[in-house]
């Protein structure tokens, strides 16, 4: 119970600091009435919570699925697919406020479908190891096509595409918050329903089967739901690395490995981490802004190194 209160307090603190802090100084008493706060900071903070949470849950579930504690949602080729989608949209001059997010989302789903197809061994069974390799391959391949398109495109277009892809949460609006809030509950519920069978899967596919889990449908559901979360996250906020890798590890240290507790904790923890990272990205070099993916990497990589050492020490 204490752990949950602590996590709740952390999320609250992250939300408050995200709303209170920014390049423009707003007095504490003016916060509720400020237009900057209401139309920019609050939706951005909520979006950070939803995206960070989605990445945390996607990472925790995928680590159990591919049975590799070093799996990251973006390791499965989705970022490559999203980037390709976005760059194609820009190269083809597709216009409209939702053009880029939709193109990135479609690209991510395309990559997901391709990786899934490659991961089906013998047409029936989803092999997590092949899935991982297919993800890396599809990511590299779509990255190559993206680079080819970018190198043939106008310089300004190129800059736009990359800024967008690494742009983080700067495109946040109430609309994107609404879309995410409506969209993510479905994959989240699917993954939460898979929490117990995911515990079994950590023993191996055969022992999980003997304990009563339907392993093949389970793997498919988890892969698709986690990818749907990641695709939505990349569509509204570009590629944000390390949240999906680091957060499940930290929550595992505190909550253990039972996914019923781990998944909700990973959601709140991922939300809090991204909130803090985004606040730092906005404030640290104001009036300019760091891509939030750089902040999560700057915080995440050292943290990850420490975790790896712990892992090795026990191993």
């Amino acid at each position: 119970m204490k752990r949950w209160l602590g996590l709740g307090a952390l999320v609250a603190l992250a939300l408050v600091s995200a709303v209170a802090l920014g390049p423009a100084h707003v007095a504490l008493s003016d916060l509720p009435s400020s237009a900057i706060v209401r139309s920019l900071r609050v939706p951005r903070a909520l979006l950070a919570l939803l995206v960070g949470g989605s990445l945390g849950v996607a990472g925790a579930s995928l680590q159990a699925l591919v049975r590799n504690p070093l799996a990251d949602p973006f390791l499965l080729g989705l970022s490559g697919g999203a980037g390709l989608g976005a760059v194609l949209a820009i190269a083809l001059h597709v216009a409209g406020p939702w053009a880029l997010p939709l193109a990135a989302f479609t690209g991510a789903l395309g990559a997901m479908a391709l990786v899934y197809r490659l991961g089906l061994v013998g047409g029936a069974q989803l092999d997590p190891r092949v899935l991982l390799l297919a993800g890396v391959a599809v990511g590299a391949f779509s990255g190559a096509i993206t680079t080819a398109i970018v190198s043939l495109a106008e310089a300004a277009d190129l800059r736009n595409a990359f800024l967008w892809l690494w742009g983080g949460l700067s495109g946040a609006s109430w609309d994107t918050v609404l879309v995410m809030a409506v969209y993510i509950p479905v994959p989240l519920v699917v993954l939460y329903a898979a929490a117990r069978p995911l515990d079994l899967l950590a023993l191996g596919e055969e022992p999980a089967t003997h304990l009563g889990a339907d392993v093949e449908p389970l793997k498919r559901r988890v892969y698709i739901a986690a990818s749907m979360l990641t695709a939505a996250a990349v569509a509204v906020s570009g590629v944000i690395g390390f949240v999906g890798l680091i957060v499940p590890h930290i929550t595992r240290l505190v909550w253990g490995h039972r996914h019923r507790a781990l998944l909700p904790a990973a959601f709140l923890g991922g939300g809090a981490l991204l909130l803090f990272a985004d606040t730092a990205a906005r404030v640290s070099v104001a009036p300019r802004e760091l891509p939030v993916g750089i902040v999560t990497a700057l915080v995440g990589v050292p943290l990850f190194a420490v975790l790896l050492r712990r892992w090795g020490a026990r191993g």
Partner: protein
């Protein structure tokens, strides 16, 4: 023939792995009823594990039938089947660190509803299963601190937490020392005699199977070499033929015991 419906019934089963040139199993039959301890013996690659996979509906036989509690094995949902059959597989992973009580609680999965939490009856079942395996003292230990024998007892407790009628053990004493393998066989025998459990055990221990099991199935090259009581199965001729090694069979405590003979090298 008993009139009780067998818990496990495999009738004249033939199975061939995809792309294999020969049958992994041919015309094998096996029936297990409550309170019986069956051992499956045979050289490496004789089809022991395949037989279990077919019997539990994980592989579909090319010919013959496999039934659990009177119903086709493949027709059961994995969840319903897991309430009847507990399996200790040869291998399992420990991807994430777990405590003993936690891993035994995983055995309650087939009894839990999708959204519901573990109930007191589940915690009681875990405690009872640990007690029966003499592992209650290990409940709060981390898995990675257990010895091989302790770990096997914990895995057995997890299968018992499923509250099954049939227990399937695939080489549970591999890599255990004498004391631990004897303890495990004694424990299994107690579960059968005291709890009315049916047990199917794959093992390489011919002599322990002969002393503890009620019936023995001896497989060779996917076919039944002999089947019945240990005394009727473990004759010198049969054992020598199946394992391709000269042996002597002695009687100890009323059970046949196999002594592998040395093959003296001919002087050059």
């Amino acid at each position: 023939m008993s009139t009780v419906t067998p818990l496990l019934s495999v009738q004249r089963v033939t199975y061939r792995y995809p792309d294999a040139s020969g049958d992994a199993l041919r015309d094998v039959s096996l029936e297990i009823r409550p309170g019986e301890f069956h051992a499956v013996l045979g050289p490496n690659g004789s089809g022991k594990t395949t037989l279990i996979r077919v019997a539990l509906g994980l592989e579909a036989p090319a010919a013959g039938t496999a039934e659990i509690a009177g119903r086709a094995a493949a027709a059961w949902s994995r969840r319903d089947l897991a309430r009847i059959v507990g399996v200790v597989a040869q291998r399992e992973d420990n991807l994430f660190p777990q405590q003993v009580r936690e891993t035994v609680l995983l055995g309650r999965y087939p009894h839990l509803s999708l959204w519901g939490a573990e109930r007191p009856v589940d915690r009681d079942a875990v405690t009872r299963a640990l007690e029966r395996c003499d592992a209650l003292g290990l409940a709060d230990r981390w898995i990675w601190t257990l010895s091989g024998g302790e770990y096997q007892r914990v895995r057995l407790a997890r299968a018992l937490a499923q509250e099954p009628s049939l227990l399937v053990l695939d080489e549970p004493t591999a890599s255990l020392d004498v004391r631990h393998e004897m303890e495990l066989f004694e424990l299994v025998r107690v579960l059968v005699d005291g709890g009315g459990l049916a047990v199917l055990m794959i093992t390489h221990h011919v002599n322990l199977a002969a002393r503890f099991a009620d019936r023995v199935l001896l497989l060779a090259g996917g076919q039944t070499a002999a089947q019945g009581t240990p005394r009727s199965v473990l004759s010198r001729e049969t054992v020598e033929r199946v394992f391709a090694w000269p042996v002597a069979i002695e009687s100890f405590d009323g059970h046949p015991q196999m002594i592998p003979l040395r093959q003296p090298k001919e002087p050059a």
